[in-house]
């Protein structure tokens, strides 16, 4: 289950996600990540990790079809330091 935008707020407000569901903490399309999984979240049966959602629907000027705004090196740092596998786009 991808936790981004309002979904992350709802999750932090107490949304109950079953243990075996993988949590995906997504970047903001520019390589910034709001938070990493906690140790408890990493121990979930389904696991958790950091990844990019790729092209999110955005305003015309932010469309990434012709260019990629996600700074991949930043994303790589998040993934490597967090020790998790990046989820599929």
């Amino acid at each position: 289950m991808a936790l981004y935008k309002e979904a992350l707020q709802l999750y932090e407000n107490g949304l109950k996600v079953p243990e075996d569901v993988t949590l995906l903490f997504a970047d903001d399309n520019f390589g910034n990540v709001r938070r990493y999984p906690t140790d408890q979240e990493k121990r979930r049966v389904g696991g958790s990790g950091v990844g990019s959602l790729g092209q999110e629907k955005k305003t015309f000027s932010e469309l990434t079809t012709c260019s990629c705004t996600t700074i991949l090196s930043m994303l790589a740092i998040h993934v490597v330091t967090n020790g998790s596998i990046a989820a599929p786009l």
Binding site: A7, L10, D20, E56
Partner: protein, 132 residues
């Protein structure tokens, strides 16, 4: 799934009835994008024209859509995405987003349970292999 699949208005699942089977033969595990739960592409919903993409306003049609996605994917190894946002991955329009999303997740688990036998969808055979 990318909405611009070969034919406009089709998805990986509907473009060719053999797609899922062929992917499975090659050991490819299919899934859908983060805003397209239950092995259904958003384009399929738009093409079907079954009303608003809303759990509050159109629960029966959305639930039937999801059950169909699960049933279609049943023979093949899949990663099922769950949750729900607004159409086209916009924010959900709901009186109580948290309550609605919780209800969505609970209902989706129930659907997975009734389609696959367990609400985490993992078949018993696979569990046996893991324990060896």
């Amino acid at each position: 799934m990318w909405s611009g699949f070969p034919w406009p208005g089709s998805s990986f699942f509907t473009d060719d009835p053999l797609n899922q089977a062929l992917a499975d033969t090659y050991g490819i595990v299919m899934s859908t994008s983060h805003h397209e739960p239950m092995q259904q592409a958003m384009v399929e919903w738009r093409v079907a024209g079954k009303g608003p993409w809303s759990w509050e306003l159109n629960k029966d049609a959305v639930a039937a859509h999801w059950r169909a996605g699960l049933q279609r994917a049943k023979p093949y190894e899949s990663v099922i995405t769950i949750g729900m946002r607004g159409e086209g991955d916009k924010a959900m329009q709901a009186e109580d987003p948290q309550g609605t999303l919780q209800d969505v997740i609970n209902s989706q688990r129930e659907m997975i349970g009734s389609t696959y036998g367990k609400d985490d969808g993992v078949p018993r055979q696979w569990k046996t292999q893991l324990s060896l």
